[in-house]
């Protein structure tokens, strides 16, 4: 097939996909074509959209590709569709941020940082499928270990966990004793009895520098 045709095929695949389409799926469908080739066509496609200033563009999100409208047209879309604005409370956002950066993380660690009970908030985030249970930590009480979900990446438009904005450094105070500040960091992963079908965790990348 010619490039132009292949590009159109890929475009059609993404068009009919409900969730971000993984490049492996595209490759499965296309057969012969190499990943590198597909990536090139995908970036070609995106350039096409950008050049012709369409209302939507091709976005890499949650480890896949998806068509999304451009932010500047949000107000028009909200007129068309009944507005259902993001309803995450401040506690929910804070908790979500802690889970995102500290995962794998148990409830006690989240509560240590926020200084308040987080059980209800964690449950809400679970129900909204923004976080998920990764397994249980192998310490007394076998607390649940939380991490973020694919929906989290989709909602915040993140390609993967490593594209989270970098945490601001703790300034001053000199380097605080790591064990006092982050009593759980680094031991989490080993202690987890991993739940089945877990994706590899990108926690190394997330640790505060």
């Amino acid at each position: 097939m010619e490039d132009a045709q292949l590009k159109a095929v890929i475009e059609s695949l993404i068009f009919v996909s409900e969730s971000p389409l993984h490049i492996d799926r595209i490759k499965e469908v296309l057969g012969e074509v190499s990943k590198k080739e597909i990536l090139r066509l995908l970036s070609d496609l995106r350039e096409d959209y950008d050049r012709s200033q369409r209302g939507f563009t091709l976005v890499e999100v949650a480890e896949g590709f998806q068509f999304r409208t451009r932010p500047q047209y949000a107000q028009w879309i909200k007129r068309l569709k009944k507005a259902k604005p993001l309803a995450l409370s401040q506690p929910a956002l804070e908790t979500l941020a802690i889970v995102a950066y500290k995962q794998p993380v148990v409830r006690a660690e989240v509560e240590k940082i926020r200084g308040v009970d987080c059980g209800g908030v964690l449950r809400t985030l679970l129900e909204r499928k923004l976080i998920r249970i990764l397994g249980k930590k192998d310490v007394p009480g076998k607390p649940l270990v939380y991490g973020t979900s694919k929906q989290f990446l989709e909602m915040f438009g993140l390609k993967d966990l490593s594209s989270l904005p970098t945490l601001k450094d703790l300034e001053g105070l000199g380097p605080p004793p790591a064990e006092a500040l982050l009593p759980f960091l680094g031991q989490g992963k080993k202690d987890i009895t991993a739940a089945e079908g877990d994706e590899p965790l990108a926690d190394e990348k997330l640790g505060p520098s």
Partner: protein, 281 residues
């Protein structure tokens, strides 16, 4: 702000800034700034007093903090235990800092514990918390799905086409009970559950469900439960659904016997809030 080891009474006036009163004549009509927790309150006090976080005048801050708790008490607000815990920590730090410098002989033994500023641990916690507060803010700055950017919506299409999920009518009580049974059977009986102290009540659950409905327009029955939902909470959720049905705040449809159960709210958020305030207390 100078650091004084003794609480000064003048500091009490400070709180007028935190009280937003629409009608000054009516002392009952006060709104407190809502804080997410004790650390949030401390950060607020530090910012308000333009204090260097690395050199907190502990006496001043402790006093203001306690005044704030006092005010919460006088407004009949529940003061969560966490607020008291930090209050105790503040008082502990304050007392440590008031201790006279150790005598020569004792210096050797005490050096270890004297080396660190008693405030250091608290400052670290504050900084750590602030860091994630900012991270939370950063998260909302990007292009958020369904706020700034949108994808094609597949649910609507399905409902309109009346494909697999044709909604033929309102669900019957038996349909609901059947679905409940299925969910309950999914809870592994011998599984250890995380014991949590917070008691969720029906009222909270009702609000949770409605908030999600208004955000999404519709929910399926199974979406209300996650793998981690405890038996007690499943029942609670179910009771909340029945109550909402009774109040006509939701409508529940089922496609066919044992088919997907979908929950809608026929009422807009504003109207619903009003009705909930009237009928659920």
């Amino acid at each position: 702000m100078e650091s004084t080891p003794f609480p000064n009474k003048e500091g009490q006036g400070e709180f007028s800034g935190d009280i937003k009163s629409d009608q000054p004549e009516s002392p009952l009509n006060v709104k407190l700034e809502v804080f997410e927790g004790p650390l949030d309150l401390l950060l607020h006090l530090i910012k308000k007093n333009e204090i260097d976080i690395y050199d907190i005048p502990i006496a001043v801050i402790t006093q203001q903090y306690l005044e704030y708790l006092e005010m919460m008490k006088s407004l009949n607000l529940d003061i969560a235990g966490e607020f008291l815990l930090i209050a105790a920590t503040l008082l502990h730090i304050k007392s440590k800092m008031l201790l006279p410098p150790a005598e020569e002989e004792q210096v050797e033994e005490r050096r270890e514990e004297m080396e660190e500023d008693p405030r250091a641990e608290l400052v670290r916690r504050l900084l750590e918390y602030q860091r994630f507060k900012e991270a939370a803010l950063d998260l909302t700055q990007g292009s958020l799905l369904d706020r700034d950017v949108f994808t094609r919506s597949f649910l609507e299409g399905k409902l309109l086409e009346g494909g697999e999920e044709a909604l033929i009518g309102e669900a019957t009580l038996f349909g609901l009970l059947e679905a409940l049974k299925k969910v309950l059977q999914g809870v592994p009986p011998g599984e250890f559950q995380e014991v949590s102290l917070d008691q969720l009540n029906i009222k909270e659950k009702i609000h949770q469900i409605m908030d999600r409905l208004w955000e999404r327009e519709s929910l399926t029955f199974t979406e209300l439960f996650t793998a981690a939902t405890a038996r007690r909470e499943i029942i609670l959720t179910f009771l909340a659904l029945l109550e909402l049905l009774r109040l006509r705040l939701i409508k529940i449809y089922q496609s066919e016997a044992f088919g997907t159960i979908r929950i809608f709210s026929p009422i807009e958020r504003e109207e619903g809030r009003k009705r909930m305030a009237e009928r659920i207390l």
